[in-house]
Symmetry: C2
Subunit: 887 residues, 2 copies
């Protein structure tokens, strides 16, 4: 405490750089004041005063009180009114405002200064008793809740019962007398519950409110909020006390909201809505329809011009699109708030690009302005927003794969396939999907499942295909026989052939056939991507298993394939039969025979990918899945297979039992399977090199760069044994064909042990690493992705993990394994190529980490490629800024 220290600042005494002592809101109001904008006057009690409040045992210090009294007197002088004056009262709002925005803290109190006397004065001055009594009612309710700790129900109950008695539907149907009655009842309730009266002295009201704001700094919600958001080192909250202005004092008054640019499209055109003789609440209540702010130009050209002028000024000042609240009180325009406006992804991109063109911001700033994750919206077909606003949401599931889908409901994969073939748009609705559904999923516009999470089969496959998917929609039940879908909570029944619409970005399911909008990858989006690539240093590849995916990814800017999962290729049509033959084969010869049937398919797959990528690197991961994934689980399917394969059910069941694993995640798969049955990888290696030779021979591509990747390696020997076999096959083929193929053999780093012995794996001949961060997270943190959903959400809530480690890479833990592996790997081979191909590869924070740690590339699903490109650029820009900061 210091007598000479300044604790209370009039708005005009502060500026935007004083957030630490004025809080965010206070500094912002001060900044606007300094811009010469007509903000209702007021003052801010500093965060230092809050700290002092706690130091002296939760008491407002005398010096603070003294300075507050002075500022209040100045405010009264400015406004020509006295706080709570019986004839023409000054009313104020009291708001908290810390350095960081903290929704967990106290709400606003409005209309402070009203009491039994000044309410009458206000009635007279405004000539609007209803307004005066409603304002008083609101004050008592807010004050009662926030300052006097009354329950919300206490007041709502009274309000509702009076409305019932009076036959009022909306609050606005209540008369001044009704509101007077409510005020009386509110006061009596406070007396009854708390044993004290609602304070009538305006100055007492104000100090009690200031106390309440200071106390709210350390309430449970606020403390938890700071904990969860790792907000540290703050000393307290500021308190903003500001004169109230009213938009409902007659036809020369009004209130509105405006944006300096269109927040939906980003168009550089003034945009907003207002109502004359109204308060903000009236807009929300939806009884009167607000007018477009453009009409204000005719209705009140002077005010309109002033507003546009202010908006331009503020936007130029903050160099970003502003969302502003304004009130006109008896012909005088006040700005109540200005802040960077929320916007759609499309608007975000357009505004950033436009601001650069307008030379308001730099390229670097523009890149940092856009949340990479938001780009997702732009890359998929969207439901028409106008149609959406009128449509009926019938169910809510998980937003498993973004995009929009509109189509007829079908209930089996085969129907989906058949109907799609005949040219219909279909949505496949299943309790859950399984690998056999692949063809049907491919044919559908969208997929809806009743069960399964964000990483269920449906979700993973749909994301891979870029197909819209809503998963885990628990409210639906499916009757496959009756061919109906029931929305349980609403009792709606939808039959096969009826239309529904899905929004895969929100998880919402709509009734009927909504309109859609296409994705646009050109225009501003294209500009942004080009800018990103100028800065970006880390490569961006894609995870793609089919030529189609590869083509989509290239359109999005992928610079190669970082992960082609070959097991998906084993499921389709006739292939699964050959795979099953291989599994059931009694000896090596029979296995080889079955594998020979798979070889032409595999070769075709790889040739297709090589052509689609035309000279870019294609990383092919050899079979990773355990064998049991290729056999059916249900009795019915086993019986069917028994007939088809002519193998008796008992033998099949015995094989399935034999292959069963307690922890398949840690099971007999990937290179382990290849150590037991090396002929599988032999076939794949042969298919890869033959495809490469063929496409090069046929001159379908300029060049071809296969990178063969061995999964689940945990020891050097696994790698060297398999590499030696592959090299032998590949070299023989190259020699025979006389066609030179550049190829590499590398390994996934997905078992923690592999990261720890990375140097030895490079010594054993690994030419590249690719981090499989999904499995690395599962094993490194001991979490099963299929199971951990049960507690991970709670873990994130309790801040045990900052983020779901399957969405955002756990840099603290798993990140260490990556660092260790890179350091060790490059200690042997300085230029070792290192990438990442887990689902994290398209997550912006992870991309930044990968850039920082010197990875050569990230690889992600096609639709995440643009996100990774932007995130890669942002990483560079932030690094530049950090370096500047350090200098």
């Amino acid at each position: 405490m210091a007598k000479n220290k300044k604790y209370v600042y009039a708005f005009e005494e502060g500026n935007k750089d004083m957030k630490e002592i004025l809080g965010g809101k206070g500094a912002n109001l001060a900044e606007m004041k300094n811009l010469g904008i007509n903000v209702p006057p007021g003052f801010t009690i500093s965060t230092e005063a809050c700290a002092l409040y706690y130091e002296v045992g939760k008491k407002i210090n005398a010096e603070v009180k003294k300075q507050t009294d002075i500022k209040l007197a100045e405010l009264e002088k400015k406004m020509g009114k006295k706080l709570g004056d019986a004839n023409d009262p000054l009313l104020v709002s009291v708001r908290s405002g810390a350095f960081a925005s903290m929704p967990g803290m106290m709400d606003t109190i409005l209309n402070l200064g009203l009491n039994d006397k000044s309410v009458v004065g206000l009635s007279k001055v405004t000539n609007n008793p209803r307004f005066a009594w409603d304002s008083y009612r609101r004050l008592i309710q807010m004050f009662g809740n926030v300052v006097m700790d009354m329950g919300h129900g206490d007041f709502e109950h009274i309000l509702e019962s009076v409305k019932d008695t009076k036959g009022a539907k909306y609050d606005t149907d209540l008369t001044a007398d009704d509101l007077k009655e409510i005020v009386t009842k509110y006061k009596a309730k406070i007396k009854a519950v708390k044993g004290i009266e609602f304070p009538q002295e305006p100055i007492k009201q104000m100090y009690l409110a200031i106390n309440a704001v200071f106390n709210s700094w350390n309430n449970y919600r606020a403390i938890r909020y700071r904990e969860i958001n790792s907000i540290k080192g703050l000393i307290g909250t500021a308190v903003n006390i500001q004169a109230m202005v009213f938009g409902n004092l007659g036809d020369d008054s009004g209130t509105g909201v405006c944006f300096t640019r269109n927040p939906s499209t980003g168009e550089a055109k003034f945009y907003g809505e207002y109502l004359m003789n109204a308060q903000g609440e009236d807009v929300v209540a939806g009884i009167r329809t607000p007018l477009s702010v453009a009409t204000l130009a005719k209705a009140n050209p002077k005010i309109y011009k002033e507003l546009v002028g202010i908006c331009n000024k503020v936007e130029k000042h903050y160099k970003d699109m502003q969302d502003m609240e304004f009130t006109i009180e008896r012909g005088v325009l006040y700005i109540l708030q200005a802040r960077n406006g929320k916007r759609t992804a499309a608007a975000s991109v357009k505004i950033a690009v436009d601001l650069v063109k307008e030379k308001l911001i730099s390229l670097e700033t523009a890149l940092l302005r856009i949340d990479p994750n938001q780009l997702n919206q732009l890359l998929h077909k969207q439901l028409d927003p106008i149609a959406v606003s009128k449509a009926r949401v019938i169910a809510q599931g998980l937003p498993a794969s973004p995009g929009a889908a509109v189509g007829e409901v079908v209930f089996t994969a085969s129907e989906a396939f058949a109907k799609a073939k005949s040219g219909l748009d279909v949505i496949l609705v299943r309790t859950e999907t399984s690998p056999e559904d692949i063809d049907g999923m491919h044919s559908s516009k969208g997929i809806l499942t009743a069960r399964g999470g964000m990483t269920s089969h449906a979700a993973v496959v749909a994301r891979g295909m870029g197909t819209c998917c809503v998963a885990g929609c628990a409210d639906i039940s499916i009757d496959e026989k009756a061919k109906t879908l029931t929305i349980k909570s609403q009792g709606i029944v939808i039959k096969e052939g009826e239309f529904i619409s899905l929004d895969g970005s929100t998880g919402k399911v709509y009734e009927g056939k909504l309109g859609t909008q296409d994705a646009s990858l050109l225009g501003n989006f294209g500009v942004l991507m080009n800018w990103s690539d100028k800065f970006r240093k880390i490569g961006v590849r894609t995870n793609a298993d089919t030529p189609h995916d590869a083509e989509v990814a290239r359109k999005f800017g992928a610079e190669g394939i970082g992960l082609c999962r070959t097991e998906h290729m084993f499921f389709e049509g006739a292939r699964i039969k050959a795979v099953r033959e291989m599994i059931l084969a009694g000896d090596l010869e029979a296995r080889k025979k079955a594998l020979a049937k798979l070889y032409p398919y595999q070769k075709g797959d790889f040739a297709g990918l090589f052509e689609a990528m035309d000279g870019l690197a294609v990383t092919i991961r050899l079979l990773d899945a355990p064998l049991h994934e290729f056999l059916p689980k249900e009795k019915k399917d086993i019986e069917e297979l028994s007939k088809e394969m002519k193998v008796d059910v008992k033998t099949l069941e015995a094989k399935i039992e034999d292959l069963h694993e307690f922890n398949p995640m840690l099971g007999h798969r990937g290179c382990r399977l290849a150590i037991t049955y090396p002929e599988i990888y032999d076939m794949q290696a042969m298919a890869i090199i033959d495809a490469a030779i063929e496409v090069k021979k046929n001159k379908k591509v300029k060049s071809v760069k296969p990178e063969i990747m061995i999964p689940i390696v945990a020891t050097t020997k696994e790698f060297s044994i398999l590499k030696d076999r592959i090299v032998k096959i590949v070299e023989a083929k190259i020699k025979e064909s006389k066609i030179k193929i550049e190829y590499k053999i590398g390994t996934m780093i997905e078992v923690p042990r592999a990261a720890l012995i990375a140097d030895k794996i490079v010594e054993a001949g690994a030419e590249f690493f690719s981090f499989g961060t999904n499995d690395l997270t599962q094993m490194g943190a001991g979490l099963s992705r299929d199971d951990a959903g049960k507690f991970l959400k709670e873990y994130v809530n309790q801040d045990i993990f900052a983020y779901d480690p399957f969405e955002v890479l756990d840099q603290e833990g798993i990140g260490q394994l990556i660092k260790i592996a890179i350091k060790k790997g490059r200690s042997v081979k300085k230029d070792l190529k290192v990438g990442i191909c887990g689902e994290h590869g398209g997550e912006p924070k992870t991309v930044e980490f990968c850039h920082r740690e010197g990875l050569n590339y990230v690889s992600c699903s096609p639709f995440r490629v643009p996100i990774a490109r932007l995130a890669g650029a942002q990483a560079v820009v932030r690094e530049m800024l950090n370096k500047k900061g350090k200098k």
Copy 2:
């Protein structure tokens, strides 16, 4: 190649330090020669000659040949005979012998020098045509196999058919003429198969044999053997050529085997067997019963005295018990071989202790002489070896838990319990055991299962209890209803109540009731343990869940409990009911109510352990198991539980389905469960501290040192959240009781991530670490212990892992996580207490690693405590030797 270089050494020209050029066998023969022992003369062609053989393209170099011819001439001179002489032939043996013993290489060829002429000479000289022709037959057979690459079947077939024709049961029933017929047929077979004659020139025979030995150095078996055993840097094998001597040339000839001490008991008494007028094979054939070597003292005092003298000399020379082969040829004693004798564990200990007492070896040497794993034999009851030699083995399973058991067969846990209560010895025979069988397992003398591996429920629990167990005995099938056990391959049926005997150290199952011998922990064993403790620096604790286990472990020298698994305590009797109530509870209150029922049991458990350990540290791991382990899986059991708990089957099934996990290993267990349901650990913490206060208050112990351990920690927050709760409970209890309790709260390090953030976990307050190397191996290497059996054996065979990583700690991989965790942990808290409590804790190589890495203690099952004590001492001795070596 160097003309002046010596490639061939007469035995008397070498010594035991020349193993690199003479090979192990050659150096040993030379050493004996130098000791003045009558070894049949001979010479060694050096390993350098072998290297030269390969250098010049698989040809015997001229210089080598020259030197060999000279040495052969010298040998002929010494023996007064010529190789293959038609009248009185010198016969020789040819043997390979590298630096390291390599069973993968060529076998011995005996009787080289015989041909169609010299066989007649030999007949006459020995006056024993049968002997001569049999020797010739053997030569052709060995030579054919080893040198001429004939199949074994080629000769066996002829031998058998002649025996059939002649009505001969044993080879010894064949006459000289029969053998002559066989020789003729053998030679014809060689001619037919190989197109060449069996070589008649003795010198050609010898050089072909030398060639074969050199070639065998690089045959597939030998190369694989060197790879598997990491034998590197050797240049080749030596060849030993030695004059044959015969013990069957009359009554003044004989042959025998002797040990300088008793290999079964270790008694310092000359021991052995011999036969006069016999060859080694005669002993093996078992037609004549060999005599005790003691009888030789009377039969031939001169030879006996000479033999005893040699034995004493050789033992003193090698400072270890010797296993020697001797032959008396016409009254002359020859020693053919002397090597350190194989011995039982008891003999091993006694001999080591005696040799120290006799001042032949130092304490340090004695400690290194004993394989710690062998001690296992001494700690358990054994089947009487004499009874075993006469008993019938009816089945072979896995040696899952050592010891011997003799008892009546029962087929259910409840029968086991009931019969044991009435005083009978029972063996519980199950297809596989489950947690419900615990009581019955406890009551049984031994456990036999048809299914499950070394880490199956039966095996793990039995080892924990110290009960003999043979698991995974695939040849038996059990009919629980009929109460019979069938040995499938032999068709034997055993009924309930009939006796069988188990050897848990070999996995053998015997018919009937065999005698047993008790374990002995005193005497020489006690001396050895005392010596070990003198050297040992690392602490040895035990994994014990019951006061009984704790007492056993203390008898074995445990210095505390390193791991008490509390989940086992949840299964017994009435407790499982309360646990299930807790799981099915709908809300916190109901859960607390169920937990309150468990509290008194838990408190009693802990009090019992504290008393048993009387002031030693007791580390208690809080509940680790996932909840689904406590619910039944079979329909029948679910229905039963439904009745018992009065919860309908559907609800039960839904709960079981809800708790089901795809990868339980990575599931919702340990501290994760406690984050969701903190009341579980609250109850356990309360039970621990209340038990500690009680035993201290009642003065049942001098002091009490509970160490509370939190399992499956992967993040700092998990630890700090749970630690804070526990501290609050414990401190309140201490304050209330006014009894001071020293306690610690620490964590398992078993999730790789925990090792990587070990510093932060210590900052969060962890007072000790205990490595759970089972789980750390599972997660770190991505191996499921329940599944990996399918391929791990093959992995070890292919040397992908040097040892099964669940038996011997994978120091290269998982060891790094341990090192990282210790380094990081101690960077924050220098004196951080660190232990290991996985099953590896009692494995000698792992104990040495733990000593080297500065762990404070290892903890292992009670029966491994002595092993760990010895291994800990050996680690110190080896470290001392290494330091000396470096100086």
